[in-house]
């Protein structure tokens, strides 16, 4: 039975290796003795006999090694040996080991974290059954928005979709168990849950009948997490009555765990029939074709291809446009992947993530180049040891394997470390709530697949940098290496691989540093840019009166009363309210027509404007300068002629002159509106936007229950917040306040993308810098130590410091300079990618150029300073004696 015997020997070789070794040693020595004895018997002299025996044997160690190679499990055994040796080596130089593991861990962690985010936001599909059949429809140009009648036409006129739905985000005043709090949810059309295709966790989901007509059924579905937090996971929640915006709704179901709406980064908690929107929102838009504020979601029938869908969609859209030329002219819909507000922010996010991924890859490459350089230098240091091992009969492959094992040990350790790091980072990111009132949440929980990813990256990295000394080993000539005492004469003479690696690495790091400075500069500019209002010393209070049941005149009355009461609070310099504030994210847009227009199709417009409804005093409270004309007034009512204040850009674009007060323009409905004042330009939707036209209408003429109360004061924030809250409570305790605090802190979302970009790029930049310092320092000290003897002879012969330096480090500086220049050029090219996220991103900025150059100079100086000192302070007498 050969197998058990083999298994036994395998186990013996593995676990009793010491005894096996001793046995082998004795056997070979006994053999040698026998040979000698035989030779003596043949008549040789003892020393001749010994010599002949040794020659016949061919070396005790070699024979032993050959036996070892033939053993069962020899490969595993020698790998274990390599492993033990590698660990010993690392323990012997803990500084090197720690640096290497840390560098690699950071490099790998950067990649794993980025991959985790990419996976969550880009790669992963919506968490619904057959997600590949679910798409969204969005206008070919512009936002993700459609109107309800448009989607109804698509729903009723198609043969390619099994279900078509639209929905709108809404924050509701949600009253359960006597507590009212603002909760984000969705008004969804009848087929929404057919498109989504999930099964309810409890009860039922919303159905077509619920959305049949306004008031068809006042029912709501809540999310699993709302069921957990608001109802304590009460199994009898179905049938409970809650109040949504003061109206009684019956909870009919709970969505399964993990369903959080159909956006990848938002947590939505209530779903109500869209048919009831008028009673919830305070105004009616269900039948309006111009109210394009909805997102769509469609499920394609099985077996239908995308081109078929698009063709039919084009036909339907053409029909709609013919039927309603005024509202729908130029309508064009395309299919897109859902989950990113349609696919609206999908483009920029994918672009940014791709950029970051490239940077992470660069950082890892640089780390590998760095470690490769370190390894190559170490291998060169160990040239003598390697030569001796070869002379003793070790094969080149065996030595290479040894070095590879060492590289793997480092990379696996680094990978394990990186796993921990990225796990922490992603967990932190997942539980982080961005500074915004929107229900943003990143579903980036770390998954086991990331461990695999980290492992793969570390293996690849290990191979990449472990292979670098390959050429060195295969070139090693044992004779030469031992004779020259390990210091190969070519060190510092020819361009070695490690020189090229260093230059490449510096170039790569330079890219990350440039990107970091560009985004830092962008952030600086963004923070000082003229917003057109002054959020400093201003408080912003936001709520929607429709959530407390106020509509039309009642809302207007409430707002006026509120303003009166607020203005009486001591310390209030100015106060006013608007339907929304600039840069708050929910800014409305509308077309403007010239006074001569008679045809009000969208294509005939002069331009689109951002529009705000404001009360008297709002401009002063917001700090928006009134440049000409008058402020709006409560005397502007629905019974007086329509008036508006416009910004400078509006005037430039419509009249091409400065004079505008008293002139007219028309809105979509053909109403003439007189311009009564001009205000300063500002930013309205994003920081990075070009200057856009905007108009401010009297809220008393328009009527709006959405309220953003602005108060300018020098008083202590906390006091003022309390005072404002008391006034609102006093007027009606049921008004759910969404936000109340300094305006600055509510601009969080505006600065959010650029802050994220700056933090991410800054980290990469710092890491890149660290790498280039480590790499430069390592190579410089290596070069110096290799040539110290030669340099000291030169010093002894009277060479000047300058000559010594240029001999020792001249090439280093050349490498640094060329690497930096290439990197700077690459970085400038790469910075264009940043312009979508970062305000005025450009690397041609002299500040950026100067900062990058200065940083690199400083880095270079810092990293070669140590070796330079060593060269200059070397004492030739001591050195020459030592060697």
């Amino acid at each position: 039975m050969p197998l058990p015997v083999k298994v036994r020997s395998f186990l013996r070789n593995l676990f009793l290796s010491r005894r096996v070794e001793a046995d082998l040693d004795q056997e070979v020595h006994a053999h040698l003795e026998l040979l000698i004895e035989e030779n003596i018997r043949a008549g040789m002299l003892p020393h001749e006999a010994q010599r002949a025996a040794r020659i016949e044997l061919g070396g005790v160690e070699q024979v032993k090694e050959q036996v070892r190679d033939s053993r069962t499990g020899a490969f595993l055994d020698s790998i274990l040996q390599d492993l033990r040796f590698a660990l010993r080596q690392l323990v012997r130089s803990p500084g090197f080991a720690l640096t290497a593991v840390l560098i690699l861990a950071l490099g790998i962690a950067a990649n794993v974290i980025v991959f985790g985010v990419v996976q969550a936001l880009v790669l992963r599909q919506l968490d619904v059954p057959h997600a590949d059949r679910v798409m969204t429809l969005q206008p070919k140009d512009g936002g993700p928005f459609v109107s309800n009648p448009e989607m109804r036409d698509v729903r009723d006129g198609n043969t390619v979709f099994s279900a078509v739905a639209d929905y709108e985000f809404q924050d509701f005043g949600f009253e359960a168990k006597g507590v009212t709090r603002p909760v984000w949810g969705c008004e969804v059309s009848g087929q929404y849950f057919e498109v989504v295709g999930i099964k309810p966790f409890l009860g039922r989901l919303l159905e077509r009948a619920d959305d049949d007509h306004p008031g068809a059924s006042e029912v709501a579905v809540i999310s699993w997490s709302a069921w957990q937090s608001d109802f304590g996971a009460d199994p009898n929640v179905v049938g409970t009555t809650v109040r949504i915006d003061k109206r009684p709704y019956t909870i009919v179901g709970v969505t399964p765990e993990g369903f959080h709406g159909t956006e990848k980064f938002a947590q939505l908690d209530i779903f109500v029939p869209m048919a009831n929107q008028a009673s919830l929102d305070g105004f009616e838009w269900l039948e309006s074709r111009s109210y394009r504020n909805l997102f769509s979601l469609v499920r394609m029938k099985d077996g239908v291809t995308l081109p078929q869908v698009q063709a039919e969609l084009n036909a339907i859209v053409a029909r709609i446009a013919r039927q309603y030329p005024k509202e729908e002219e130029g309508l064009a819909l395309k299919l897109a992947r859902p989950g990113m507000i349609g696919d609206f922010i999908g483009g920029p996010i994918r672009g940014f993530l791709a950029g970051v991924m490239v940077l992470a890859g660069i950082v890892l490459l640089a780390a590998c180049a760095n470690l490769g350089g370190l390894f190559a230098a170490r291998t060169a240091d160990r040239a003598r040891e390697i030569a001796i091992r070869m002379a003793l009969g070790s094969s080149r492959w065996r030595i290479l394997r040894q070095l590879l094992v060492e590289a793997f040990v480092i990379s696996i350790l680094g990978g394990a470390f990186a796993c921990g790091l990225s796990w922490m980072a992603l967990t932190g990111l997942a539980s982080w709530h961005p500074p915004t009132r929107y229900p943003m949440k990143f579903f980036v929980l770390p998954q086991p697949s990331l461990i695999l990813m980290a492992f793969l990256i570390s293996v690849v990295a290990g191979v990449v940098f472990g292979m670098m000394p390959l050429r060195q080993i295969f070139k090693t000539d044992p004779n030469e290496a031992i004779k020259s005492g390990g210091s190969q004469s070519y060190a510092g003479r020819r361009w070695a691989l490690r020189d090229v690696l260093l230059a490449a690495q510096i170039a790569l790091c330079c890219v990350t540093v440039t990107a970091a400075f560009v985004s830092l500069r962008g952030l600086g500019k963004a923070l000082t840019v003229d917003l057109g209002f002054n959020p400093k010393n201003a408080l912003l209070t936001q709520f929607d009166l429709s959530q407390a049941g106020y509509k039309g005149d009642a809302a207007d009355h409430f707002q006026r009363q509120l303003l009166e009461r607020i203005s009486q609070i001591p310390g209030v310099e100015a106060a006013g309210y608007a339907n929304s504030t600039p840069l708050s994210g929910d800014t409305s847009v509308g077309p403007v027509f010239s006074q001569q227009s008679v045809d009000f199709r969208p294509s005939n417009r002069a331009f689109y404007i951002y529009r705000f409804d404001v009360s008297p005093g709002y401009l002063a409270a917001a700090g928006t300068p009134l440049l000409a004309g008058r402020d709006v007034s409560f005397a502007d009512t629905t019974k007086t002629p329509s008036v508006a204040l416009v910004n400078q850009e509006f005037v430039r674009q419509l009249f091409h002159s400065e004079q505008a007060v008293g002139r007219y323009f028309k809105n979509r409905d053909g109403v003439s509106i007189q311009i009564v004042g001009i205000v300063g330009d500002g930013k309205y939707f994003t920081l990075s936007e070009d200057q856009e036209p905007a108009a401010f209408f009297p809220i008393s003429q328009e009527g709006n229950s959405s309220t953003a109360l602005t108060v300018r004061t020098q008083r202590d924030t906390a006091d003022m917040v309390r005072a404002i809250r008391n006034v609102v409570r006093d007027l009606d305790v049921a008004v759910p306040i969404r936000e109340l605090g300094p305006w600055n802190s509510q601009l969080g979302l505006t600065f959010f993308p650029i802050q994220v970009a700056t933090v991410a790029l800054g980290l990469f930049g710092a890491f890149g810098l660290l790498l280039s310092i480590a790499g430069t320092f390592g190579l410089a000290s290596y070069t110096v130590s290799k040539r110290l003897r030669e340099l000291s002879i030169r010093v002894a012969l009277g060479a000047q410091a300058k000559e010594i330096l240029s001999a020792a480090l001249g090439r280093m500086l050349l490498l640094l300079a060329s690497g930096s220049i290439v990197g700077l050029l690459l970085g400038m090219a790469a910075s264009r990618l940043l312009s979508a996220i970062v305000y005025q991103a450009t690397a041609q900025d002299p500040f950026v150029l100067a900062a990058v150059t200065f940083t690199l100079l400083l880095t270079g100086t810092l990293s070669v300073a140590g070796p330079v000192r060593r060269v200059l302070h070397a004492d030739p007498a001591i050195l020459l004696r030592e060697q």
Binding site: M1, V5, Q26, E27, H31, L34, G58, V63, Q66, R71
Partner: protein, 110 residues
């Protein structure tokens, strides 16, 4: 004469070792000399080939090793044939017979 003909014909050395041990237990040097003797000096087995082969065959279970004393009272490692080893010897002998016959036939043609 090539010093390592075994590398040409895998298994030849195995067969020679088995055959030598068939005569009785012996130590490494003994096996080496025995092979030299029975092949009329055609094969000289170097320790570098012999020992790996012996250890491999031991792991296969064909031979067993034990420590003993040499003719001159020296400690030496002895090997002897096991039952599977004897079977292996028979099989190898047959196989070798077939091969040498086939080669001889092939060389006689033409």
């Amino acid at each position: 004469m090539s010093p390592e003909p075994t590398s040409l014909l895998q298994g030849t050395l195995d067969l020679l070792i088995l055959k030598s041990l068939n005569a009785g237990e012996m130590h490494g040097l003994g096996i080496s000399r025995r092979i030299q003797q029975i092949t009329g000096g055609t094969f000289v087995v170097k320790p570098g080939s012999l020992f790996p082969c012996l250890h491999r065959m031991e792991e296969e279970g064909w031979i067993a090793a034990f420590w003993g004393e040499s003719e001159n009272n020296r400690r030496a490692k002895y090997y002897r044939l096991t039952k599977p080893g004897r079977k292996q010897l028979e099989a190898e002998t047959k196989r070798w017979g077939r091969i040498s016959w086939a080669i001889a036939q092939a060389l006689e043609v033409s």
